[in-house]
Amino acid sequence: MFEIIDDAIDPMRLLAAVGDPSAGASVLFLGTTRNENVGRRVVRLEYEAFAGMATKEMRKLATQARRRWPLTRVAMVHRIGVVPVGESSVGIAVSAGHRTEAFEACHWLIDRLKEIVPIWKKEHFRGGTVWIGEQQGGPPVPATRSKTRRKAVR
């Protein structure tokens, strides 16, 4: 199960997707919109994906993880569109014979997903918006100047 979806993530679907009689451990990671980021009051996050490529890249990551660890099953889902505070944007479930592999692989998968899967996050905070990952070199710009954001940030 490797999906880009536009509604709420169902943790039970992820867990069911990795259930297996040979699995002794399942680890589920949920990444959730939190109400604060580097001192900004976060109102909501908004995600955009290159969906076809994103699911392909998620499958590739799962294949790579299986080469590194003896895993039973892997499932990954990412939500796009608006994700309010307290709701999850990403869910990754990994099952394995033993727990250490499941923990390590799940942690590795979310780290790699953030580095490589073509998904972008726009943070709506109290006072403005910012595309995360592009803010190096300057602070995010208030909403009133958002049309000239790129110049101001440079």
């Binding site: 990444g31 990412h78 953030k114 073509p118 998904i119 972008w120 592009e134 070199g137 110049k151």
Partner: protein, 79 residues
């Protein structure tokens, strides 16, 4: 030959969702992007990555007729 372009996130906001360009044979992804940056200097600061037909490619990847070149700002999926 013709190449389709796809933009995402801040680049989509600056340049639109998609575009199409006529390019010379042998044009690389990086060279085409340089041309586009000259037209739109506001996007020059963005560290970009390229994908052709839904696979990551390097800047020196030579484009083929009908390719879809996707230009990505830094990805930030997850949480």
């Amino acid at each position: 030959m013709r190449v389709r372009l796809r933009y995402f996130a801040s680049l989509r906001e600056a340049l639109g969702t998609a575009d199409e360009r006529a390019v010379r044979d042998g044009t690389t992804a990086g060279a085409l992007w340089s041309t586009l940056v000259r037209e739109h200097p506001a996007v020059a600061r963005v560290r970009v990555r390229f994908a052709v037909d839904e696979r990551y490619v390097d800047a020196d990847h030579v484009l083929a007729d009908g390719d879809e070149l996707a230009v990505f700002p830094p990805v930030s999926g997850g949480c």
